[in-house]
Amino acid sequence: MQIEKLLGIVITLLMVLSILLVFSYAPEEKQMGIPQRIFYFHVPAAWNAFLAFAVTFATSIAYLWKRSEKQDSLAVASAEIGFVFCTIVLVSGPIWAKATWNTWWNWEPRLTTTLILWLLYAGYLVLRTAFTDDRKRNYAAVLGILAFVNVPVVYFSVRWWGSILHPVDVIKPTRVEMDPRMRIAFFVSLFTFTLFYIYLLLLRYRVERVSQQVEKIQQQTLQQQQV
């Protein structure tokens, strides 16, 4: 509890710091201008989404192996948070794209993969609500593994698919040397976001554990009443 509170305060301060860095310290990008500053939140959000889904994948395997409810709670907590960050990516991306590529959406592999990722984990969360008994843990774990395995396959298939539509990549990931000040702002933001993910995970995990206990107590009282 104490650690969580402390972490909350640290993250609040770091968030303020990264906003300051992003808007006043980092220089403006020459070609893209102000909209480029979405980058400092867009990319860390994407990183968090992938990290969260990777954690869901790992804890799903661990759950099937060890059958500990804690692993299952971690998996669902992480999936929910990942879904939220994935939504942030899908909202902030088109805004940035409209400003720089002059289109809200193109079927670029990373965009498409993120969209499919979002759909996959939306399905995962629907699955969690569709069952009330213990089966949902098994099912969710299986889906958590299948969905994550699917991600690289989707990525490569969309890349080939796109390369036929547009012979030349619309956006070539060019290695531009980043201004050191930009880099600092970016990495502070990335660090803050990662901490934020861990913080949310801790909170959501605790909520999940409590709700599991409540469920158990409810079932026990129901049984006692029936007796």
Binding site: G123, R135, L146, V149, N150, S157, W160, W161, I164
Partner: protein
Amino acid sequence: MNQLYKIAHLVRKDMTMHLQNKETAILIFLFSLLVVLVFSFAFGPIFPQDLVERGKLAGSVLWASFAFAGVIAMSRSFAQEQEHGALQGILLTGIDPANLYLAKVISNTLFLIVLEAMLAPITLVLMGVMDMLGIMDMFQLLGVIALGTLGFSAVGTILAGMANAGMGRESFLSVLLFPMIFPVVIGASRSTIALLTYRELERRGISNQGIMDSNWLLLLIVYSLVFLAVSYLLFEYVIEQ
């Protein structure tokens, strides 16, 4: 050996049930035909004059209707097992749950291939692209259909095992299954389009190797193998009660 024998028996059981109880097959066939018609009415009645464009349209519509038909077929694939504790009965024979999965994948794939082999010519005729296929191309198309359907069933069967117990079977399964099978839809429709258009492209002096032109077949094979393997390992957790 014993397990192989059991798999063969399960596949035979499913096939017999499909043959005896044709309602499901007819229903799914009509449904997928209606999907094709919905697309025809939405895009038609004058399809693109350009043969390559028309081939693209036909290939896409074909796989869109296969995908919808496939979801309906999958959602019913465990219906009989759920009734009267038939699943417990099957498991009591000592079959490995993973092999039960394999048997279901095989029977689902066979069932869908037969269905799709009937639907494909009708779709191609309706879209006016039947003449673009030679005899050999038809066999190749059958091969693409088989590969795509195998990948579809590999994922569909394991998800159907979950969705069957859930509420609103069909819609629930669609939500889980569609995001998973986009690579199959992409790979299979591109291969089909390549088959339909390569002669016309060659006639225009654009040299191409048709279906071998790209990685789509490889994608379909890799996809099927990966998901067969992963689902084979995971299936026991799905039917564990």
